[in-house]
């Protein structure tokens, strides 16, 4: 092993400093690209870069090897300054086979770098990827800097001392690739070696092989005279504090744990596995020492049913799912609206309709969350805008649910769920107390002077009904899906009562607008005439796109909605302040439909339905187009900037 030891790091003769780089790892879905990308991300996070990631993988666990459909990719954007997106176009593509090259080449930035596993470019693999001639030889890549590295054969040779069979040994080639890239971008190696040793601790042979492959890759970069230089992306100047790297789903799960603590209620999750939401179930099931109970139910309906049953008993009931699961839970959400019990419904949106694109992102469940129930059944909606923000959004959803005794939607999406970013760990003591009191005593005096409990006697301010949990003597009562008499809560078919109850339920949700922040507008110059209004995961792309537009001298404003029902109280006034309102969404115009209907504002949509998040460049282009349409002269002036 002496020959594969990492030599002490001397300053490489030619280290070039970069302010940012976007790297995409691509290979077969069995090649371990997600693991490789994750690890590179983690070591960059520890190194102190700001970063943003975009995993992109097929729905099949092992799609046919070597085909375009089977390509799994992981893109990471690292930088020495604050960044907002995983980057539009990778400046470096690592392609483990011809299919990975073919599927990703169109995205590589002009004059970008391509690193290929040349061993995999045989005739059969080329044919599977649909290449009639070898792109390494036919000039396809002439505009790029290409490094051909026989990764498979070097890996096989390097891991021999571990005694691994060749077939298994080949599987370490992703660690070889990670080693090469770690050298290229001057990543710390010790933490990655320690990570490999811990991750594969149970299998000595695999552990040894992976460490050998990683070191071989790193040393290959150092010694092969292939690369003229390597690069360094210095740590970003982030706000001081303690940081960790979180994905949206992890942050969301932690937010739910926190919400249980802050509400002083046991957390109960009823859920059914579904992509891309299952990781929340996995994460929460680890934290039983917080009093968290998780039930993997027999179906989506039972998942939410159990959560609602637990809420009735005084838990913070939560259900997690994606669009198809929401379809199934819909009837129970309506019941929760009628029972007026707290319930947090997490929808990690994915491409639809039906099974659609399970592993791809979309924001097309907004109108479903808003209106997707029979009858007048309003439900508050909150949406996180970054992976780390999922933590705070979960607490906010729970706050509204327990305070107003209502189901609340949290709309995340596949991009936030699997994307990761450095997250400044909040001071636990700064988090809000969201606890509420259970009812403990009768609240109504009968004509005969007797005391009794009325389950639908509302709080004058919030219109919330009392939450009386079973086990409380003297407050026995019955609730159900049938319409209830205002106050007494007994079954009522009275027409005037129904009309009143419909309005009370609607007013209760509308009144939450008094209890949420006004929408803030980012309008640095204060004189913009164009407002970009977004919600949810488009935050990063919109903010990055507008940065570029502003650098070109234009004045544009950005508002981003955390609350979609009710809207912040000032939204109408804000929208009317701007001549043009652009609403970028990963749907066909759901928020723009809502604001047009609600505020009679001629909002324009920028809509993307490819299963991929917006790129900053797409926002930039759309905004520039609108600006030039609005003011042709000004636009032509700025073109050359």
């Amino acid at each position: 092993m002496a020959d594969t030891a990492i030599p002490p790091r001397t300053a490489p003769p030619n280290t070039i400093e970069l302010d940012r780089v976007v790297i995409r790892f691509a290979g077969d879905s069995g090649d371990g690209m997600q693991l490789t990308g994750d690890r590179f991300t983690e070591s960059s996070a520890i190194f102190g870069n700001d970063l943003s990631t975009l995993p992109d993988f097929p729905a099949e666990i092992r799609a046919p090897a070597g085909t375009l459909a089977g390509v799994s990719a992981f893109q990471v954007h690292i930088s020495d300054h604050d960044i907002l997106t995983p980057g539009d176009n990778p400046s470096v593509l690592v392609a483990m086979n011809p299919a990975a090259l073919r599927a990703n080449l169109k995205d590589v930035a002009p004059a970008g770098t391509i690193i290929v596993n040349s061993d995999s470019f045989d005739e059969r693999a080329l044919a599977k990827a649909g290449y009639v001639s070898n792109p390494l030889e036919d000039g396809t890549l002439k505009d790029f800097t290409v490094y051909e590295i026989p990764m498979t054969s070097i890996t096989l040779e390097a891991v021999k001392p571990s005694g691994t069979k060749p077939r298994d040994a080949e599987r370490s080639k992703n660690l070889f690739a990670l080693g090469v890239i770690s050298w290229m971008y001057t990543r710390p190696v010790e933490t990655t070696i320690a990570w490999i040793e811990a991750k594969f601790a149970k299998n000595e042979m695999v552990k040894t092989a992976n460490v050998l492959a990683f070191k071989a890759g790193y040393n290959f970069g150092e010694t092969a005279e292939l690369f003229e230089s390597n690069y360094i992306v210095k740590p970003a100047a982030l706000e001081p504090g303690e940081y960790t790297n979180v994905s949206g789903n992890t942050a969301l799960a932690w937010g739910l744990v926190a919400a249980g603590q802050l509400a002083k209620l046991p957390l109960f999750l009823g859920s059914y596995p579904i992509t891309p939401a299952s990781d929340i179930l996995h994460e929460l099931s680890k934290h039983k020492n917080f009093g968290v109970r998780t039930v993997q139910a027999e179906d989506e309906i039972a998942g939410i049913g159990a959560a609602l049953g637990a809420s009735y008993g005084g838990s913070l009931g939560v259900t997690t799912t994606s669009g198809p699961g929401i379809d199934l839970k819909t009837e129970t959400i309506g019941l929760a609206v009628n029972l007026e019990l707290p319930l947090v419904i997490i929808d990690i949106q994915r491409g639809g309709p039906s099974t659609g694109l399970p592993t791809k992102t979309e924001q097309a469940d907004l109108l479903q969350a808003m209106f997707g129930r029979h009858g007048e059944a309003p439900v508050p909606i909150v949406a996180p805008d970054t992976p780390g923000d999922c933590f705070f959004a979960a607490i906010e959803a729970a706050r509204i649910a327990v305070k107003y005794r209502t189901p609340v939607f949290l709309l995340s999406d596949g991009y936030l769920a699997n994307g990761a970013e450095p997250w400044k760990i909040p001071d636990v003591d700064s988090l809000p107390d969201i606890s509420v009191d259970f009812a403990t005593a009768p609240n109504h005096t009968r004509a005969d002077g007797g005391e009794e409990f009325w389950p639908y006697l509302r709080d004058a301010e919030t219109l919330a009904r009392p939450w009386a949990v079973p086990g409380t003597p003297g407050l026995e009562h019955r609730i159900g899906g049938l319409e209830k008499a205002d106050g007494a809560g007994t079954v009522s078919y009275d027409p005037a009562n129904h009309e009143k109850m419909v309005h009370l339920r609607v007013d209760k949700i509308a009144g939450i607008a008094r209890d949420i922040p006004l929408v803030e507008v980012d309008d640095p110059d204060g004189d913009a005439e164009l407002l970009v209004l977004g919600w949810g995961s488009t935050y990063g792309a919109i903010a990055a796109g507008l940065r570029r537009v502003r650098l070109q001298g234009h004045h544009v404003a950005h508002a981003h909605l955390r609350h979609l029902n009710p809207f912040p109280a000032n939204l109408g006034e804000v929208l009317r302040r701007y001549r043009t309102v652009l609403v970028p969404e990963m749907n066909l115009g759901q928020l723009s439909t809502l604001v047009r209907a609600r505020f009679l504002v001629d909002a324009k949509g920028l809509n993307k339905m490819s299963g991929q998040p917006f790129r900053a460049g797409e926002i930039e282009r759309a905004v520039l187009d609108l600006l030039s349409a609005d003011a042709p002269a000004a636009a032509s002036d700025s073109k050359g900037n």
Partner: protein
């Protein structure tokens, strides 16, 4: 919840002030009375008692009990009850359901509540018809039944709810009927005392849409020769003189004349057999309430209940890791410190 003394209550304490809306003559009345009369006998507490129902005539039941109650949505009562029972093991959770609610739209939830052994007591009112929607055939209606939705006779093969529950390895399965309050109360009491999921099928007459469905076995005259009363530890026999009985062989259970086989050949009923096969064989003796039909407790075995196990894991995790520390959780991954420059 606060003291251990058995509360003294009467039927009246368990009766809510709501006017009962079932049709006059409905079998549901006698089941309600049996439950309301049983509660004082059980020494149960109103505040710790919850009735959860789905949708259908039977599912109005919680409104008439002066306890906690939820009239939920069609078929989903076992799902709500699971969440409540798991998170509140101090409560006694009852599920009130019917043949359409439990076996048609809610079939999945029933099976899973039984297999998980959630600590709930399920009373399944089986009247072999949809009552609330005014008379369509149900999953327990006999094949060929002419109803509003099957003018030429239904083509569906019916379920036997007891067989179904035994197939799901329910830990407690019993059958009773609305014509015998004493038997109902005794059976409900056994179900109440069972730790884990208990299913009681209650043959219940719908006098409007399916009147007399159980007449062949339940009229006073017919009962001796048509009801096979299962008694734990006793030979299985029935008939006015005990002249008929049941033998169980590798081929299943069959009805015999005691005179033909001799008393020693009769099966001895054992509720506690770990394997549900013999209980299943007994449930197959009749394929509808028209031939001799077993009633009583088919199976009562001990198996850890789901909620206890969930809560055991929660306690165990707290003992092992200590109570949750939020700040530690948020710093549980790799962390780094950024200092001001």
């Amino acid at each position: 919840m606060t003291d251990v003394a058995v509360p003294v209550t009467t039927k009246k304490d368990w009766t809510s002030d709501q006017e009962i809306r079932w049709c006059p003559g409905c079998g549901d009345y006698s089941i309600l009375t049996a439950v309301q009369m049983l509660m004082p006998e059980l020494g149960a507490r109103r505040e710790d008692t919850v009735f959860i129902s789905g949708i259908g005539c039977s599912s109005r039941f919680p409104y008439y009990m002066d306890t906690y109650g939820v009239h939920s949505i069609h078929g989903r009562a076992p799902a709500l009850a699971t969440g409540l029972a798991v998170s509140r093991p101090d409560l006694h959770v009852w599920v009130i359901t019917g043949d359409g609610d439990a076996l048609s739209i809610g079939g999945n939830h029933l099976l899973h509540a039984l297999r998980r052994n959630v600590d709930i007591t399920i009373l399944l009112f089986n009247n072999q018809i949809y009552g609330l929607t005014k008379g369509q055939y149900s999953p327990t209606s006999e094949t060929g039944k002419v109803t509003k939705s099957t003018p030429f006779g239904s083509l569906d093969h019916p379920y036997n709810p007891v067989s179904l529950a035994l197939g799901a390895e329910a830990s407690f399965v019993a059958r009773t009927h609305d014509m015998d309050r004493k038997h109902m109360m005794a059976t409900f009491k056994r179900a109440y005392e069972h730790k884990g999921a208990a299913l009681v099928e209650v043959y219940q007459n719908c006098n409007v849409f399916n009147d007399g469905a159980f007449e062949a076995i339940l009229t006073k005259d017919n009962r001796p020769r048509m009801l096979i009363n299962l008694v734990h530890g006793e030979p299985i026999r029935f008939g006015a003189e005990g002249e008929r009985g049941v033998v169980v062989t590798a081929e299943g259970a069959r009805i015999v004349d005691v005179a033909d086989v001799g008393e020693d050949a009769l099966a001895i009923h054992d509720e506690t057999r770990p394997d549900p096969s013999v209980a299943f064989a007994l449930s197959r003796l009749s394929d509808g309430p028209t031939s001799p039909t077993p009633i009583g407790v088919f199976r009562a075995v001990e198996r850890p209940d789901y909620g206890s196990m969930v809560n055991q894991q929660v306690r165990h995790a707290s003992e092992q890791k200590g109570p949750g520390d939020l700040a530690a959780l948020l710093s549980s991954g790799a962390t780094w410190t950024v200092t001001g420059s």
